[in-house]
């Protein structure tokens, strides 16, 4: 048991994966000597050599496409996309090749790629460095999409992702890279496909993932002080979603709030609201509420506090599903 930052917990997971399986190779921009711009791969090239931890030319489609070829040859490539906003040049290789090759070949060709993507906002960055593109991939059959919110999960889930025979998009909540927590390399942890009840509660189910789990926990604490018992679910797996866990909670609470940084329209909140409404219709006391980024591009840093869901906006939604007075009380569409 060691105390590590979330970034270092991923790094130690990568280190274990490299040590345990000679077929694991890391590819990315600046992951070698520099150790990545967030230092997640710090020291790995020195430890495992430049043929296991490879700096690549600056081309994301090239990184993923090359990794596909390595997978054909039996490797387990772990690709780093430097920032969320730089994944789009690789979109074709991801959705048309990585996601489909196992299906296309009737199971003959496995694609055990892990694609690491630091994502999300809240760090005051310039454009393309704060995006939350998870919904694109969750809508793509053949991919698994996961994210983590604590150092222990970061460590265990990256190892599980690498060991998984399916391709995994591993979204790293970059503004939580510096969060510290105990990490046990040998912990028997929840499978990465399961959601976790991060805080039990009885009145409202609050679903969050990645960077907003902490925000959701803070909101739940604040709500408790205000007499509302909020159950926080850390989704962990974004595709597939562990609906049974969410469903069980909503059957008890009758109320659902979902929060994510990505734009609202077509975001994961829509899928969760729709699926849970479908599965729990007669248990719902109120329409599920979504607290998300707006349907705008990610704005300039000085505006991100408005774009990003925060504790107050979540509490406002909790009030809404509780039927209490809230910001939309009396609001009429103009």
């Amino acid at each position: 048991m060691t105390e590590l930052t979330l970034a270092k917990a991923i790094g130690s997971g990568l280190r274990r994966a490299l040590a345990d399986d000679g077929k694991v190779v890391l590819l990315g921009e600046d992951i070698g000597k520099l150790g990545g711009v967030f230092r997640v791969t710090d020291g790995l090239q020195a430890a495992f050599g430049a043929s296991r931890v490879m700096d690549t030319p600056l081309a994301e489609s090239g990184i993923i496409g090359t990794a596909v070829g390595l997978a054909f040859r039996g490797y387990r490539p772990v690709c780093e996309i430097q920032f969320d906003g730089f994944i789009y040049p690789a979109f074709d290789q991801i959705v048309a090749q990585v996601a489909k090759l196992h299906y296309r070949t009737g199971g003959a060709v496995r694609m055990p790629l892990t694609i690491r993507v630091p994502y999300g906002g809240g760090i005051g960055a310039v454009e393309h460095h704060s995006e939350s593109p998870e919904a694109y991939f969750a809508h793509t059959a053949g991919l698994r999409v996961v994210t983590c919110s604590s150092p222990q999960d970061a460590h265990s889930m990256i190892r599980e992702a690498i060991a998984c025979d399916d391709p995994v998009l591993f979204f790293e909540p970059k503004r939580r890279y510096w969060t510290k927590g105990d990490v046990d390399e040998n912990a028997a942890t929840l499978p990465m496909t399961s959601a976790r009840v991060a805080r039990p509660g009885t009145d409202v189910t609050l679903v969050a993932y990645g960077p907003l789990v902490q925000t959701a926990l803070d909101a739940a604490a604040a709500a408790a002080a205000d007499g509302v018992s909020v159950e926080v679910i850390d989704l962990r797996s974004l595709s597939p979603i562990d609906f049974p866990t969410v469903e069980a909670s909503v059957r008890r609470t009758g109320r659902l709030v979902i929060t994510h940084e990505a734009a609202q329209s077509g975001g994961l909140g829509a899928e969760i609201a729709a699926s849970i409404t479908d599965r729990c219709f007669f248990f719902l006391e109120a329409a599920p509420a979504r607290v998300t980024g707006f349907d705008t591009p990610y704005p300039a840093a000085k505006l991100e506090e408005h774009f990003l869901p925060d504790l107050d906006r979540i509490l406002d939604a909790v009030d809404r599903v509780m039927g209490r007075e809230n910001s939309l009380t009396g609001w009429v569409a103009s």
Binding site: G62, I64, T66, G69, L70, A71, D92, Q93, T105, G106
Partner: protein, 371 residues
């Protein structure tokens, strides 16, 4: 160690290059002496020459048969390779069994040479499956339809061979149109940077559907590779021996640590892009006629005839073989079974996915309800 300076003086960019267009047999079947490449085919026995002739004849026959099957409604679509037999057979027959090929959709002769049953070639075009064969059975990836995507896969595979310390080479097949896709240059860049043993084999058949190669490239496409540090060669793609020679040379170089190579096989798509295409809208018949005169099979036949190699017996046996393959092919195609309805849900993932299992279970209930 890499320096900040981009000069790798170890690369001999002239390694593969020959004057203009490598040719070993002229369009009329004469032997053209080629000091650089003759040695690469000097070992071919008469039997091997006749076998190569048989390949050419058989793959053309498969192609004609497939077109017929499409016209009869048995295939949804077919991309003919008419005219490109030599480029495909010559290159494929230069490969070792353990070499690995990454294809586009038109390389059916390559697949045939690798041992894919003709029936398996058309599973995709008949719509019964998304791929025709298990890539690991024949060391040949199933065709990529997204133009250029496979060139990166080939590069990655080659990188894996390097890591494994084996002298296996991978080959990326692609067309002249594909050279415009970013993926293809990224593949060259990665291959050059990692000195990966991959051969970029471009069949320049002059067309990308209706677009002439002059829209993609102002210079021969093989002129691009040297700028990336990859030696390249332009070969007469209708000359099966020349193609085999340049391919063997490039493979050997890659196998022995020389890094990637690039081959442009200059040929011509004599048929439509696919059976859905109408080339009369854009092909100049005079242009096409001039290429008909360079037919790869007629040329090789004339050459073998001149060598006295093509006995009546050999000819008859090749014809019989072609008939037999065609018959089996047709029967095999018509015999392909339709997939079971619920198989739509299979192999999306290699590991369990309860949400997808739920959809499958619901659809199964739906199918039962409709019985």
């Amino acid at each position: 160690m890499r320096t900040t300076l981009s000069h790798d003086t170890n690369i001999d960019l002239g390694a593969l290059e020959s004057v203009d267009l490598v040719q070993i047999i002229s369009p009329t079947g004469e032997r053209v002496a080629n000091a650089q490449y003759d040695p690469w085919i000097a070992d071919l026995t008469t039997g091997q020459l006749v076998a190569m002739y048989e390949d050419l004849v058989v793959v053309r026959r498969i192609d004609v048969e497939a077109t017929a099957l499409q016209r009869q409604g048995e295939l949804g679509l077919w991309p003919p390779l008419l005219g490109q037999e030599a480029a495909q057979v010559g290159s494929a027959r230069a490969l070792r069994d353990d070499d690995f090929g990454f294809l586009s959709y038109r390389e059916n002769a390559v697949a045939y040479c690798r041992g894919v049953a003709p029936r398996d070639l058309v599973r995709v075009w008949r719509g019964t499956a998304l791929c025709g064969w298990n890539p690991f059975d024949v060391n040949l990836a199933t065709p990529a339809i997204i133009i250029g995507a496979q060139t990166l896969h080939a590069t990655g595979y080659a990188l894996g061979c390097l890591k494994d310390g084996v002298d296996t080479v991978s080959v990326a097949y692609f067309g002249d149109g594909a050279t415009s896709e970013g993926d293809v240059t990224e593949a060259m860049i990665f291959a050059a940077s990692f000195r990966a043993p991959v051969i970029f084999f471009c069949q320049n058949n002059q067309w990308a559907i209706s677009e002439p190669v002059g829209l993609q490239a102002q210079r021969p496409v093989s002129d691009r590779a040297p700028g990336f540090g990859i030696p390249s060669v332009r070969v007469d793609g209708n000359d099966v021996l020349a193609v085999m020679a340049v391919m063997r040379s490039a493979l050997d170089r890659a196998r022995t640590g020389g890094g990637p190579g690039y081959i442009e096989a200059v040929t011509y798509r004599m048929g439509p892009h696919t059976t859905s295409d109408d080339p009369t809208r854009y092909v100049d018949p005079i242009d096409r006629e001039s290429w008909a005169a360079k037919d790869p099979i007629a040329r090789f036949e004339a050459y073998l005839d001149g060598q006295g190699v093509l006995t009546e017996e050999a000819r008859a046996s090749v014809a019989a073989r072609a008939d037999e393959v065609a018959r089996e092919f047709r029967a095999g195609c018509l015999g392909l079974e339709n997939p079971a309805p619920l198989s739509v849900f299979d192999h999306v993932y290699a590991t369990a996915n309860p949400e997808l299992a739920r959809q499958k279970s619901q659809y199964a209930a739906y199918l039962r309800s409709m019985e």
